[in-house]
């Protein structure tokens, strides 16, 4: 019998994978992958608790979250293309103009 805690465990593992990617990778597109994985781990939690509590708001919020993530990817990839045009590189260590 699968319970809510199992979904929460899977979500935690996905969150860990995403955090690892965000810290360890220098490729900007891979960092977007990591952000997407983290966002999906959060959505999985929302839907799992919505199921456990038989609550509509969790699923509604997950739908809004998915739509916002799509907008975020569009803008993020646009910024990456601009940065690639400027630096001929998608390595975040090479984006030095904004470095403090």
């Amino acid at each position: 019998m699968v319970e809510i805690i199992d979904y929460v465990i899977i979500s935690t593992i996905l969150f860990g994978v995403g955090i690892y990617g965000l810290v360890a990778k220098r490729n900007a597109i891979r960092m977007i992958f990591a952000i997407e994985i983290i966002a999906n781990a959060a959505n999985l939690n929302l839907v799992a608790f919505s199921r456990g509590l038989s609550n509509v708001q969790g699923q509604t919020f997950a739908l809004f979250s998915i739509a916002i993530a799509a907008a975020e990817v569009a803008v993020g990839l646009g910024i990456i293309i601009i940065a690639y045009r400027l630096y001929k590189e998608i390595d975040v260590e090479e984006f030095k103009s904004l470095k403090g």
């Binding site: 969150f15 994978v17 810290v23 597109i29």
Partner: protein
């Protein structure tokens, strides 16, 4: 906390495995495809949680739009830049240490939370009807829905403005 459902185990392995492949494979385009498979796995979890509407939305948005967008971007960027796997050992080690800290902290939190007590929260409750989702969205959450539409339109205009090239435009007049 006994995971004995083979479907759940298979979907978990698919999702987590392809998430790791998406981050670790050498070629970025295979990474994008692995990310799409991972998102499909998440949609499978939503189906297992009796939320078919959210699952279809996830497939539509993530596999249909986001993955295709990422693959197009990868194709636009020069391949030589994609193969630059300059990875310093320090970053990797710090990533592993940070993940271990997060995992130990969240694991301890889960153990002390009441979630392991299966009487408190289980999957015996009736599933949410997707008609109720539509009603919520169009009544109580309708301002949020309008704001979401504006955000999506704004992001599309923003992405178009970002991707515009001034040097290729013709000067008319």
């Amino acid at each position: 906390m006994v995971m004995d459902d083979p479907v759940f185990l298979a979907v978990s392995a698919l999702t987590v495995g392809s998430a790791i492949v998406a981050l670790e494979t050498r070629e970025l385009i295979y990474g994008g495809i692995a990310l799409a498979i991972s998102m499909l796995g998440i949609a499978g979890f939503f189906l297992l949680l009796d939320s078919p509407f959210v699952a279809m939305f996830q497939i539509l948005v993530y596999v249909g739009a986001v993955a295709v967008l990422i693959i197009f971007t990868v194709m636009l960027v020069r391949t030589q830049a994609l193969f630059s796997t300059k990875e310093d050992k320090g970053r990797k080690a710090s990533g592993v240490v940070l993940v271990l800290i997060f995992m130990i902290g969240l694991g301890a939190l889960l153990l002390v939370s009441g979630l392991t007590n299966s009487q408190l929260m289980n999957l015996q409750m009736p599933p949410v009807d997707f008609k109720a989702i539509g009603e919520e969205m169009l009544t109580y959450y309708s301002p949020a829905l309008i704001a979401l539409g504006l955000v999506l339109g704004g992001s599309i205009i923003g992405a178009l403005a970002l991707a515009r090239r001034e040097d290729m435009e013709t000067t008319d007049g």
